[in-house]
Amino acid sequence: MNLSGSVSAFRLSLPVLFGYIPLGIAFGVLFSDLGYHWLWAVAMGLIIFAGAAQFLAVGLIANHAGLFEVGVAIFLLNARHMVYGLSLINRLGLRGWRRWYLIFALTDETYSLLTLLEQRAPALRDRLQVRVAALNHLYWVLGCGLGAWLGTTLDLPTEGAEFALPALFMVLVVEQYRALRRPLPFLVGLAIAALAMLLHPDQMLLISVLLAVAVLLLVRGGEKWTHRRIF
């Protein structure tokens, strides 16, 4: 066991801790209204491990939705994860169960932190990847369990703590800019986000991720055709 590796993974994952605990609690509190034992919320955090999908799930369970409908709805809601995988194919060095665990644990936040680890030496990177994913998973399960266990009796002064997640993404935008040093991809992202928000606020993330892939394919095609760098 390499202690410095764990400390560094813990430091990396801290913003996710501050985001996932309040968010997990919010899910748990919502779930507790369904009247099931709180351990079911822990099971959901443990084996589904997806924020938006679990919030949607509470509504689907309340309506006793058909299982086929559930599968389709959750697949579509999480379809953006396919794009995360697409950008990581060459960037996961691990093999075997560790690789599959990382893929299983690929939430928005875990993906973001993995992109931050790219500059590390491969051996250290691989070790940190799994630890960061496992810590995020742990925080999420803790949050879900706490919320469902304590239910609505909980009244912590945590209002606003969930801002840690946009803050984390913003830090990663800054770091991505430092690595890339070109404003165009970021402006394109902003334009796509604004367009998706106008088109369909509820499905904003899925629409914008699909648009992003389409635009990148066009840019790539344009670069090949004109033999000039666009991005």
Partner: protein, 111 residues
């Protein structure tokens, strides 16, 4: 189907659907991992996606206008701290602390 069986099947279906979205690209494209197109996407998707995630995480404030000013102020603090000290924990902690103080009314904004 009783309530417990329904919930158990529900969780298994939801878990499988989620895992599928995360695993499909690795299953479908691992053999072509050296394709230049995947290399291109690997380089440019992360910056674009991070911008999308910031906007997504702020969507409630952006759509309703509620807590919009605290959000934008706190986001500005995050960027400023990150450019200045380049310590992610300080940037995120500072921005989040400011946001919490603002939305809980500990610090009041003029107007």
């Amino acid at each position: 189907m009783d309530a417990q069986t329904y919930l158990l099947s529900f969780i298994l279906v939801a878990a499988l659907a989620t895992f599928l979205t995360r695993a499909l690209p690795f299953v479908l494209f691992s053999r072509h991992s050296d394709h230049p197109l995947l290399e291109f996407l690997g380089r440019y998707l992360p910056p674009v996606l991070m911008v999308l995630l910031v906007v997504y995480a702020m969507r409630d404030a952006l759509l309703s206008g509620q807590d919009l000013l605290p959000s934008l102020l706190a986001l500005g603090v995050v960027v400023g701290l990150q450019l200045w000290l380049r310590n992610a924990l300080i940037s995120i902690g500072g921005g989040t602390a400011l946001y919490m103080l603002l939305v809980q009314g500990v610090i009041a904004l003029p107007g």
